[in-house]
Symmetry: C3
């Protein structure tokens, strides 16, 4: 009799956990902070050199959109509000621009605030090495005056098939309006 | 004997539900309309004032890309096809532009159809108040002549860690080509 | 006794599969390649005709951002680095531009590499037919010199509510710098 009632209880528990209400239940479980352990973690640096009219060879990024009165070789006033920049930046494992790249960060960012530096990013990390093959796709707001900022990992391909997670950005260095380096701490919470 | 066969049946059922095939099974469960209850719901308004050459102080958005023949202070003909707009818009809890903002909507939209008004959006809601800290990231098509339009919540950070869902947009007001207000009904179906 | 120990074992198995640790466990299951079966698969073609100054009526896409020295009717040198293109392209079921469209591909792409053709895409498939209603949202890097490229399905609405997956792109045809056709093989791994 004890066995049967245990079984009955068990049935109820399992039903509530994996039964009719599906993901809704999973969400309730996942709300526990204890569940927020990354299933994969990766740290990279990437390096952005903006074209200023004189550095065509070394530049990895270019202004392609600007507000009224702006131009393509000087970032706009008012905290660059309205500048859209396309980039193909080398990714390195350490903070040295001259280290051998392990992949490319490709996409765009745009400055979107008049009274402070703030950006919005849409880009991918593209890997094709013995270590990583595939891509990680990112999107999100980058309030870059904050020491660290979180953006979303919205998908991935290859080794990062269907990945989701959070990437924490840190401005590791910047030199005037031509060069900056971001440290990207990628924490995936969905790994397939 | 009846107990054992019940158990065996039970085992089969649970295996099929939560066992070896993982998320595929979860998906089958989730296909049931009954499972489509948001785990979180939020309604906000945001307000977009486009720079027209004379409203620099109040403008919250600017044209930064335009088709051949276009300019930065007048939206293009042919339903603005090809215009790219960067914005930093106040978010309010009600439909009053002058209410205290609870956050900022930041990112871009572009008009992408010649024969009707239609847009594509990539942006974030950025919160830093006692009520909400973190961001919600959005992307999707906005066929804005429809009364309501659904876009995707593709991720989130902070209070909205790893969120996914749907945001239903409604054009609550517009005044010529300078001001519009969107009502955003956010329904999250994945909450962590 | 054998029954009780079986039950105990069963309890452990179920606990590990669907129990307290939620999605983390699901991820472990999902890492098995066997779980990578699409829950939905769709193949479409879309057709992009870039405005070149003389094809206003037929063009489905326009250059709206360009690097320093570029213009809006001729794609830029250096593999079009810095060109941003907005599009509203017909989607067809076969590879014939003149087939009846089943929807529209709407959004943008940008060329983001100086030494080879490579793009980054943010767009939606928008359907409003008897067969499909709703949208599928995409983002990702498109190294278009590769025969096939994977991008992410980052969300969906309507019939594609909350979809996630991978879309494999193949350049099915191109004619100079005015027309190209992509074959898109959509594999959804999360269906609701």
């Amino acid at each position: 009799m004890r066995l049967i009632s245990s079984l009955f209880l068990f049935f109820l528990v399992v039903s509530a956990t994996a039964g009719s209400s599906g993901r809704t239940v999973a969400n309730k479980i996942l709300k526990k902070p204890a569940a927020r352990h990354p299933c994969k973690r990766l740290v990279f640096y990437f390096h952005d050199i903006i074209y200023n009219g004189q550095n065509a060879k070394n530049a990895t990024a270019a202004i392609v959109g600007e507000p009224s009165g702006g131009n393509k070789t000087i970032l706009a006033g008012q905290n660059h509000f309205g500048n859209l920049v396309v980039f193909d930046d080398p990714i390195t494992l350490d903070n040295n621009l001259h280290s051998t790249p392990v992949g490319r960060a490709q996409g765009f960012y745009l400055y979107d605030k008049k009274d402070i530096f703030t950006a919005w990013l849409g880009f991918s990390f593209v890997f094709n090495s013995t270590q990583h093959k595939g891509s990680i796709n990112f999107a999100g707001a980058d309030p870059l005056m904050n020491k660290t900022r979180d953006i979303s990992v919205i998908g991935g391909t290859g080794d990062f098939f269907m990945a989701r997670g959070i990437a924490t950005l840190l401005t590791d260095a910047f030199e005037g309006e031509v060069y900056f380096r971001l440290r990207v701490d990628i924490k995936l919470y969905e790994c397939w």
